[in-house]
């Protein structure tokens, strides 16, 4: 109904009735024409340029704010100082020793935790009794906040690399076990029956059916584990260590060298991104092999 129609409604019953019948036969209320909302995708270069622009603005704002005294340069440091410290850190300090230390403890912990965890998860396929007995222990261990055990682990394994590897292992082991065991439980019993009807031995069923079947579960845990392993290694270095990026952050914080904190965090993030990207790549290669 349009605006011009409304005054006529007040003209009396006759008019109203005529109006109603006229309306029934005449055109119905026109619906507003609506179109599918279309979102136009920007070209990649525009996206990247905008992202880069935001970064530049943040850094510039930070620099200006700290130079003009809007924020305290002592607590927050400033990009120019961080850059300066980064150059010194990389060229003069023992940056590479620290990076290497953190990298090694992360990778060893990751490999060890994932491998042993997956093998334990797979081993549950061999015996239902064994799985039933061991499972509550695994779940108990899962519920412990593993980082709370870190001081104990440092005491047992010492200040060196092995204690960091042990903490990273503790964080990654249980999740690998449980995820792989979820794969074992999802196995179709008819698949096993097919193998046995072909006269297969248990070892053949394990190698040709159980292992490839559980591989997607193991793969799915890789990316989670690399992050957990890095966390474990850093926490270990926080508590007691002679090397590592975690120790560098702690040391810099305690000496109020805030620029160095930022540098270490920056290097750590770069390391994390590199490891994460590598694991993602390995994951995609493995996934192609499993066709899932």
């Amino acid at each position: 109904m349009t605006v011009q129609d409304t005054p006529r409604i007040g003209l009396g019953d006759l008019d109203l009735a005529r109006d109603a019948s006229a309306e029934a036969t005449a055109k119905p209320t026109p619906k507003p024409a609506r179109r599918l909302p279309v979102q136009k995708d920007w070209p990649t270069w525009a996206i990247v340029a905008t992202q880069f622009g935001i970064l530049v603005v943040i850094i510039a704002a930070w620099e200006i704010a700290s130079t003009t005294g809007l924020i305290s340069a002592f607590f927050w440091s400033q990009p120019s100082a961080i850059w300066h410290t980064l150059i010194i850190f990389v060229t003069e300090g023992n940056a590479w020793v620290d990076i290497g230390f953190t990298f090694r403890s992360t990778i060893f912990g990751f490999l060890l935790g994932t491998t042993v965890g997956s093998l334990v998860g797979l081993s549950f396929w061999w015996s239902r009794n064994y799985a039933a007995i061991v499972q509550p222990y695994i779940i108990c261990f899962e519920s412990i906040p593993k980082l709370a055990l870190a001081p104990l682990i440092i005491l047992v394994f010492g200040l060196g690399l092995s204690s960091k590897v042990a903490i990273a292992f503790a964080l990654t082991f249980v999740i690998s076990t449980l995820t792989t065991f979820a794969g074992v439980k999802a196995l179709d019993p008819d698949g096993e029956r097919l193998f046995y009807s072909l006269g297969a031995t248990r070892w053949q069923v394990f190698r040709k059916l159980v292992m490839p079947f559980c591989l997607p579960w193991i793969i799915s845990v890789l990316r989670v584990n690399i992050g957990l392993a890095l966390t474990g290694a850093i926490v270990g270095e926080f508590i007691a260590s002679q090397h590592g990026l975690g120790r560098a952050i702690l040391y810099a914080g305690q000496t109020y060298d805030i620029a160095l904190v930022w540098v270490a965090v920056l290097v750590l993030s770069t390391l994390a991104v590199i490891m994460y990207a590598t694991v993602s790549w390995i994951e995609s290669v493995l996934r192609k092999g499993t066709r899932q």
Partner: protein
């Protein structure tokens, strides 16, 4: 004809809190060499139990299974067994799926592949050999599963409703394809189905089964000469057999409801 598989008073009973439950009444069944034999019956008549017993995956509570006159009760790897699900391994190509039986028996992979490849090409899987199962249609997957069973090289193959999940059109194609395969390979086939018409079209002999307890109601030989055209389904002989089967199955049904 010599007997290939002999079920000698094979029965299956389970002890439950409510008492002994008879899944399969002790039954005798002789399957002659090279014949195509079907078991037809409603669900719960013990067809799958019998198959598992013949395949050695289930120990019967009574009786024994003789294959070529030898006691084969509870021994695996003596017969080829195909379930309704194709169970193709998604991480293997069609070719590598088909050679699974030979691989498990320890045959060198190269020889196994060389043997399987021409068969895949001959029996309707040409061009699919090196693809993964996820790119195959339901009918194609069943073909691959059946060839895997055949290439296991046993004289007897058990087919548990292989075409049950296929659409009607594909099912007809697959039946004809199976007939060709059977006449080429000369295997002894035991076939389980719900579909009476399918059983008559394919078989030399039909065992109609009933439920509670699972038992054989009647054995009906099918004498329609081979090769059978699709139109044999319209002949009086075919229709008479079908009527007999359906009568047996519907007569068996009320007891199921009473129980």
């Amino acid at each position: 004809m010599p007997v290939k598989v002999h079920l000698d008073r094979v029965g299956m009973a389970f002890t439950t809190p409510a008492g002994t439950f008879r899944a399969v009444e002790p039954l005798d069944l002789e399957i002659p060499t090279g014949r195509f034999v079907s078991l037809v019956g409603p669900s719960g008549c013990g067809k799958s139990t019998l198959f598992n017993v013949i395949a050695g995956l289930l120990q019967p509570t009574e009786g024994r299974v003789l294959i070529d006159g030898e006691d084969a009760t509870g021994t695996i790897g003596r017969v080829g067994y195909m379930l309704q699900k194709d169970l193709l391994l998604p991480w293997r190509t069609v070719l590598d799926n088909v050679i699974l039986g030979m691989e498990i028996q320890g045959k060198p992979l190269k020889a196994a592949r060389e043997r399987a490849l021409p068969l895949l090409q001959k029996y309707g899987l040409a061009g699919f050999e090196h693809l993964y199962p996820n790119s195959l249609s339901g009918g194609m997957r069943q073909r691959a599963a059946l060839l895997r069973t055949l290439l296991f090289d046993t004289d007897v193959i058990l087919l548990d409703e292989p075409f049950g999940a296929l659409d009607a059109q594909t099912k007809l194609h697959m039946q004809e394809w199976l007939m060709q395969l059977w006449s080429d390979f000369k295997k002894t086939v035991v076939f389980v189905t719900h579909d009476v018409e399918e059983a008559i079209y394919l078989s030399d002999e039909i065992h109609v089964m009933g439920t509670r307890p699972g038992r054989i109601l009647e054995t009906i030989p099918i004498t329609i000469p081979r090769p059978r055209a699709r139109t044999t389904a319209l002949t009086p002989e075919f229709i008479a057999v079908k009527e007999r089967c359906l009568n047996l199955l519907t007569a068996a049904a009320p007891t199921m409801e009473a129980a």
